[in-house]
């Protein structure tokens, strides 16, 4: 099952979603987990009187950083270098992976411990390491679970959110070779600790992501709940951090805003349990070598589009994911991206180009707007979804939907044409209508008709009624 999940054919969202809807256990897991997290978030936000001001400040500082990204990244490089770190630049996933593989290989180590990192998931670093004979060991428990299962993460914050505790217990019993392991949380955590503790104590190289980097000071930060990230960033001799270029902020003080927004939006906590911040290397404390790999991989493409650019403000809190009614039905694997949910639906097509399965993602939304309401950095996700749809339409040949909308557009262009179209449709629908409801659904309406009735054009439209009334008056 695990390998199958990972090597599953890449399908457009509407097709993989259909398959996901059949998985009742997964859907129940997703619904339960997201309901819990979003209730916690709502309570934490309600408990923060200056939330609107914090949000506005977060939006402003992230947008400001994006507009000055060229300058801030160079400042970041200078500050990291001055503090004893080494900065590397990667244009794309292949360059980034080659850099990291090279850095790890140079140490002579054959395994690395990893802090959960969406960016390394995005670029496929684990596969590149494995191909070079280096074993990547994920240490975030949920990320380790999907790694052991051979799956992709299904949620930004909790990669194994689609799995329930009994399934996880089954997986760990087999993967850790502990057949007697009980199903309860304490036993499972103890087993995970035994398993990971050994990896930490042996590890001489770690690979991390970064939640933020501060251009002013050269400080890089990771925010987490378990402390396993702290182990990775402090115990090994060499630390390699892989970070998307959009994660930089200008000043130290900016963290004061983001470190309030992120835990409340992510887990509903006022403060996350572990915030690890480091600046280059410190003699006698922590890693002796620190490498920061700055990855573009499509981000400058996003930056170049003023209407799509706000997507780069994202701080990966997953609040939008937990409130999304589409994600809550399908779970994350239906989205062919590591950034499942509303943010991925606007980010992935911009990063990779609006083609292939990524072109289906902007349509994975009813535009209900719940995501925009909770975004801590004010990303108007529905607006960008619609913007991305326009880009998909421009890039593709007009299909059935395009032709139908063009016909409607012409019909709406004058009231004479519109009224004529109403009359024509009413004449054409006659054989298909019984009791004022369509009996069969042509072309694009077929999907509607499977679960919903639809009235035909009314026997008397509103405007016909109005005209008749006017004449009668």
């Amino acid at each position: 099952m695990s390998a199958a999940a990972r090597d599953a054919p890449r399908l457009p969202f509407e097709q993989s979603a259909r398959a996901a809807l059949e998985d009742a256990t997964m859907r129940a897991n997703v619904l339960r987990a997201t309901t819990t997290i979003r209730a916690r978030r709502a309570a934490a936000v309600a408990d923060t009187p200056d939330w609107p001001e914090l949000r506005a400040a977060g939006e402003a500082l992230r947008q400001r950083a994006l507009l000055r990204l060229d300058e801030l990244l160079v400042r970041l490089e200078a500050a990291v270098t001055a503090a004893g770190g080494v900065v590397h630049w990667a244009r794309d996933a292949a360059e980034a992976n080659a850099l990291v593989v090279g850095l790890v290989s140079a140490t002579g180590e054959r395994s690395v411990v990893k802090v959960k990192s969406l960016t390394t998931d995005e670029i496929g670093l684990n596969d590149a390491l494995a191909a070079a004979g280096i074993e990547p060991i994920e240490t975030d428990l949920a990320e380790r679970i999907v790694q052991l299962a051979g799956e992709r993460p299904s949620h930004l914050l909790v990669p194994s959110l689609h799995r329930g505790r009994p399934e996880i217990a089954e997986l760990l019993r087999e993967a850790l070779d502990e057949p007697g392991l009980a199903d309860d949380a304490v036993s499972l955590l103890a087993a995970a600790r035994r398993h990971l503790r050994d990896a930490f104590l042996r590890a001489r190289v770690a690979v991390s992501g970064a939640n933020f980097a501060v251009a002013e000071t050269g400080t890089v930060g990771v925010v987490e709940s378990e402390g396993n990230g702290r182990m990775c960033t402090t115990l090994p001799e060499t630390l390699v951090t892989v970070m998307g270029i959009e994660k930089v902020v200008e000043e130290w003080d900016d963290l004061g805003v983001l470190l309030q927004l992120l835990p409340r939006s992510a887990t509903g906590e006022r403060m996350n349990p572990y915030t690890s911040l480091w600046t280059g290397v410190s003699p006698g404390d922590g890693p002796r070598a620190f490498h920061l790999v700055l990855v573009d991989a499509g981000r400058t493409r996003v930056l170049a589009d003023p209407d799509g650019r706000p997507a780069l403000r994202c701080i990966r809190c997953s609040a939008c994911v937990n409130v999304c009614p589409v994600y809550r039905q399908t779970g994350g694997h239906a989205y062919d991206t590591v950034y499942a949910g509303p943010i991925g639906a606007i980010l992935q097509p911009q990063l990779s180009g609006e083609r292939g399965t990524a072109a289906s993602l902007p349509y994975a939304s009813s535009l209900c707007g719940a995501c925009a309401d909770v975004c801590p950095v004010g990303i108007d996700i529905p607006r960008i979804l619609v913007h991305e749809r326009a880009k998909v339409v421009k890039a593709a040949r007009p299909g059935l939907e395009g032709r139908a909308l063009r016909m409607l557009g012409r019909a709406f262009s004058t009231s004479e044409r519109y009224e004529r179209a109403q009359r024509t449709a009413r004449a054409l629908q006659r054989p298909a209508v019984r009791d004022d409801r369509l009996r069969w659904f042509p072309g694009p309406l077929a999907g509607w008709g499977r679960s919903r009735t639809l009235p035909g054009v009314a026997p008397q439209t509103f405007r016909e009624w109005w005209e008749a009334r006017d004449r009668g008056a």
Binding site: F13, E14, A17, R18, L21, P325, V326, Q329, T330, P362, Y363, A364, S365, S366, L367, C368, G369, A370, A372, D373, V386, R389, A390, K391, V392, V393, E401, G402, L405, R406, L408, G409, A411, F412, S413, T414, S415, Y418, Q422, R437, P444, L445, A446, G447, W448, R450, S451, R452, T453, L454, P455, G456, V457, A458, Q460, T461, F462, R463, W465, W466
Partner: protein, 231 residues
């Protein structure tokens, strides 16, 4: 000062009873209603489907059609939301149409200051706030204020009320299966209330809800706020 009725293409063509109820209600309250016949569609469908150029043409047409009216009233929250959030930008015109275009409940509560519109409705209702009425128009408790003042109505709270019904325009076609799953959850909540009917301010969401209720053979009906208030 006459008020322009922006009936919306969907109500005009598929749910004319909602338009008739809106006229009945407004006239009963002494409002002079005009129906500018040049109106067609606001362009929401086209913008959301990824055709902004066609939406721009319809936005300019909307501004021409409704020029000069101090109030443009519509029985459909998402159409009003489209006009308010997008029409000036799409038409490249700094027109104040956003301030002049109102959902029926906004017009009644904010402009007429009418909380009690003198209606009587014998039955149980539950109110679904609909996404764009809730999150773009921020209608708040206006519709429920109006419903609570209706004589004889028994208003039941709806669990998970703020969840989308799964309509979303072409979403209901392209992602029909997910849309159907969302609709099933919504209808289950509606039926749990035991109400005779689910009420909303958006004719398009109501078309979706009614379609689902009818297809599952449910006795529960879907009614527009205007239809309740016009009784």
């Amino acid at each position: 000062m006459p008020v322009a009725l922006f009936v919306t293409c969907l109500v005009d063509t598929l749910s004319p009873e909602v338009g008739r109820a809106t006229v009945t209600l407004l006239e009963r309250l002494g409002v002079e209603v005009e129906f500018p016949r040049a109106q067609t569609c606001c362009g929401q469908l086209h913008l959301n489907a990824g055709y902004p150029e066609m939406a721009s043409a319809l936005a300019r047409r909307f501004l021409d059609t409704f020029a000069g009216y101090e109030a443009i009233v519509a029985p459909s929250g998402s159409c009003v939301a489209h006009v308010r959030a997008h029409v000036p930008e799409l038409a490249a015109d700094p027109d104040d149409v956003a301030d002049r275009t109102l959902d029926l409940s906004e017009f009644l509560v904010d402009r007429l200051d009418a909380h009690d519109v003198g209606s009587a409705y014998a039955g149980t209702l539950t109110y679904h706030p609909t996404c764009h009425s809730l999150r773009i128009l921020r209608l708040g408790d206006r519709p429920e204020l109006l419903l609570r003042s209706v004589t004889g109505v028994d208003l039941r709270p709806l669990a998970d009320a703020t969840e989308c019904c799964g309509f979303g325009g072409t979403f209901a076609l392209r992602n029909a299966d997910v849309s159907t799953a969302m609709l099933s959850d919504k209808l289950r909540r509606v039926e749990e209330t035991g109400a005779d009917a689910v009420c909303a301010c958006d004719a398009s969401c109501l078309l979706h809800l009614r379609g689902g209720l009818e297809r599952r053979g449910s006795p529960t009906r879907a009614v527009h706020l205007a239809e309740v208030l016009a009784t």
